[in-house]
């Protein structure tokens, strides 16, 4: 099926089971994984992007739009991720950061695509700016754009924008979910914040697959 499928995905460290999930996330849907810190959330993220340390034993399958990505290296998975921090590259301009995300095959209209993307996020004219001069909300939007311009087939959110203050956070959160829905991306949100989970609107599971009501 199209979308992101976790098929009996289990991760163990020694005798301890950290992750045990079976789930199907259709395009535009959000699955929230909620748990306290140390509960296997970040282990799950590492497994999804392909950076799991060798000490962990991972079984099961991850498929994305019917492609088995379980054994693929990070760069070949086409799973975009937004970290807690925006991680904008400080040595590149805003447009440079976005250009880093935009695939090279768009050769002739790079500048136009970047300008259009900025305009959609109410950031028209921000291309030449130094990222350090942007506000937190503006930086978060640039980070989201950079990820989306790379044309991912799924989106992972790692406690997204937990460093932003509450009002701004809900605004950015809504923006991210709206964009993901509009672009038809399956989303996995990893958080410890019930507000995030409620805003996501989809199913909420613990890393071990237990259903959580918020």
């Amino acid at each position: 099926m199209t979308g992101l499928v976790l098929d009996h995905l289990t991760i163990r460290q020694g005798d301890q089971s950290l992750v045990a999930l079976t789930a199907a996330i259709r395009p535009g849907e959000v699955l929230t994984i909620m748990g306290a810190s140390g509960s296997g959330k970040s282990t799950l993220l590492s497994a999804l992007i392909g950076t799991l340390a060798p000490a962990f034993r991972c079984e099961g399958r991850i498929t994305l739009n019917d492609r088995d990505v379980t054994a693929l290296p990070t760069r070949a998975r086409r799973i975009g991720i937004l970290f807690q921090d925006d991680l904008l590259f400080p040595h590149l301009s805003v447009a440079g950061n976005l250009g880093f995300g935009l695939p090279a095959r768009h050769r002739s209209d790079r500048a136009a695509r970047i300008d259009a993307a900025l305009a959609e996020m109410d950031l028209a004219g921000f291309g030449p700016r130094d990222p350090a001069t942007l506000s937190g909300g503006q930086r978060a939007r640039v980070a989201l754009l950079r990820t989306l311009l790379a044309e991912p087939q799924a989106l992972l959110l790692d406690e997204p924008f937990s460093r932003l203050d509450a009002g701004l956070r809900s605004q950015i959160r809504t923006l991210v979910f709206d964009r993901a829905r509009a672009d038809g991306l399956p989303v996995i949100l990893v958080t410890h914040d019930p507000d995030d989970a409620r805003a996501a609107g989809g199913a909420v599971l613990s890393p071990l697959g237990a259903r959580i009501s918020t």
């Binding site: 950076t51 060798p54 760069r75 799973i79 250009g99 880093f100 090279a104």
Partner: protein
């Protein structure tokens, strides 16, 4: 530190003066005799000039570029990879090996009668006697470039590893990979721009050293004509004093060459930075670049293995009896050791005295400076860091001769003390670099807790900070000992040839061709620093064997 507050506060400033004054005074002392038309004419008429200049430029730039690309490549290819720990464990002991020992080992390995030739003879080469080939001391300086690259690569790798946590490398690499970038491209486009400014000074030190290396160039480099710095050293140590003017003019030229090359390198940095930025915005994922990973790793491992094999060869020569070509192994005997034991003991004693004096002084100054920084909330600016690197970047041949003359004129200092003071100039920066990070990382809450319990700053320093930092202090001391043991030119020039260290003796003997004796000296030269590091690792484990919180995980 029960120093009066005013005194302690001045220590950082005094330390910087102790580093910079001798360098600048020595520079003036060396270069003033160069302002003499006859000296400049004599240098211009020296037939070896062009070759010496070319050698300095080519071997310096090529080896620095190679060492930098290999160490960056290793990190880009292997960071967070399983085998990275193993590669690190292989490379880090090489840091403590003095340049002379490394060069001698490599020379024994690749010489026509060396291990490589023996391994291939006679079955592959047909040689039953060592071939008449100019592998060593080749006129192009290839052997020298290989030696410099192999020796500087572990140093640059360590500097890169120390800087990586400050640039959030792991997350940047993961982000780049999640956007589809290859490892090498991701590293070059996202980590390198932030990393490079942090390793710029060490790179400049490597470049300046490689351009002006005396001991490695004497052993591995061409001899007719030799490299510029080697020739300057020969002129300077010529008993007739007739070549002093020419030497001064050549030292001036060497200095100008180094400054010009550093300026050129700096210009290239800017071009590359701009190119990388443009490249990043183009969005090319450059995955095929990752095909370079395997060759990069292989080449680094081969270089490290060559150094190890060379050092093993040195040790073997010191216990070799008859060892005809092409036998792979010699007859064993301890004759060499018993024969040179008396000389070796004296020389080892001198070497150790110099190392302990200079390292002790350096530790005192560095600890006082760091404590002063901490107590008075001083923080060294970029200027102070550049001054710290001044003795490492300034070519030794450009300021040591002047310092030698000054020491003679003053007459107050001679022999071992004068040489130890000269060693201090080079030991101190490394001790500071090694100790500063762990000192600053000391948990401030511990000192706060102690203050709340009524302890003053002196008691906190002696009973908490120093014991808890024992491991870091001993490691810094081992680094200092390794640096001091490895010094060649300061011992030779400031000692006026009368202070014999393992390094000066090993190099003096190396031209004589008695490999067994050279092997014995070089082996000890290599063992002293190794012993220092062994103590730095072992002592804290012994002292704190009942304190699990003090042991490394």
């Amino acid at each position: 530190m029960r120093l009066r507050a005013g005194l302690l506060r001045q220590v950082p400033r005094v330390t910087v003066l102790l580093l910079t004054l001798p360098v600048l005074a020595g520079l003036a002392g060396t270069l003033i005799p160069a302002a003499n038309p006859a000296a400049l004419r004599a240098l211009a008429n020296w037939p070896g000039l062009e070759g010496a200049v070319r050698l300095s430029l080519v071997s310096g730039i090529a080896s620095t570029l190679l060492a930098l690309m290999l160490s960056l490549g290793l990190v880009a290819a292997l960071l967070e990879h399983r085998s990275f720990g193993r590669v690190q464990a292989l490379l880090s002991p090489l840091l403590s090996v003095p340049h002379a020992a490394a060069a001698l080992g490599l020379a024994f390995l690749i010489a026509p009668s060396g291990w490589i030739a023996r391994m291939l003879s006679p079955w592959a080469t047909g040689w039953t006697t060592p071939p008449d080939l100019l592998i060593l001391n080749d006129p192009m300086g290839l052997a020298l470039i290989v030696g410099l690259t192999a020796k500087e690569m572990p140093f640059l790798l360590l500097m890169i590893l120390a800087a990586l946590p400050q640039v959030d490398a792991n997350r940047r690499l993961t982000l780049a990979a999640s956007l589809g970038y290859g490892r090498i491209a991701g590293f070059g486009l996202t980590v390198l721009p932030a990393l490079y400014p942090l390793i710029r000074l060490p790179i400049y030190a490597v470049l300046a050293y490689a351009m002006t290396s005396v001991e490695m160039a004497m052993i591995l480099g061409p001899s007719l004509p030799p490299g510029l710095s080697v020739q300057i050293t020969q002129w300077m140590t010529d008993p007739s004093l007739a070549h002093r003017g020419t030497a001064a003019a050549a030292a001036l030229l060497q200095l100008v060459l180094v400054i010009a090359t550093l300026a050129l390198w700096h210009g290239a940095e800017r071009l590359i930075r701009r190119a990388l930025r443009r490249q990043a915005a183009r969005g090319r994922r450059a995955v095929p670049l990752d095909l370079l990973r395997r060759p990069l790793i292989t080449l680094s491992v081969v270089l490290a293995a060559a150094l190890f094999a060379g050092l093993a060869g040195l040790s073997l020569w010191s216990v070799a009896g008859l060892w005809p070509f092409p036998d792979l192994l010699p007859d064993w005997t301890l004759t060499t050791w018993t024969r040179v034991a008396p000389d070796l003991l004296t020389t080892t004693g001198t070497t150790l005295t110099l190392a302990l004096l200079s390292t002790g002084a350096a530790l005192g100054l560095v600890l006082s400076s760091l404590e002063a920084e901490h107590r008075y909330r001083l923080s060294p600016g970029a200027g102070a860091m550049a001054l710290l690197y001044l003795p490492l970047i300034m070519p030794q041949v450009a300021f040591l001769p002047g310092l030698q003359i000054a020491a003679l004129r003053l007459g107050a200092m001679e022999g071992v003390l004068a040489v130890a003071s000269a060693h201090l100039i080079f030991v101190l920066p490394y001790v500071y670099l090694s100790l500063a990070a762990p000192y600053r990382a000391f948990d401030p809450r511990i000192a706060l807790q102690a203050t709340a319990l009524g302890a003053g700053p002196a008691r906190i320093f002696w009973t908490l900070r120093l014991p808890m930092l024992l491991s870091a202090v001993l490691t810094a001391a081992a680094v200092g000992v390794a640096v001091s043991v490895g010094q060649y030119l300061p011992s030779l020039l400031i000692g006026g040839g009368r202070v014999e260290t393992l390094t000066t003796e090993a190099i003096a003997l190396s031209s004589g061709g008695n490999r067994r004796i050279v092997g014995a000296y070089a082996l000890l030269q290599m063992l002293l620093p190794a012993l220092g590091f062994a103590l730095a690792i072992g002592l804290p484990r012994l002292v704190f064997r009942h304190r699990r919180g003090m042991l490394p995980a």
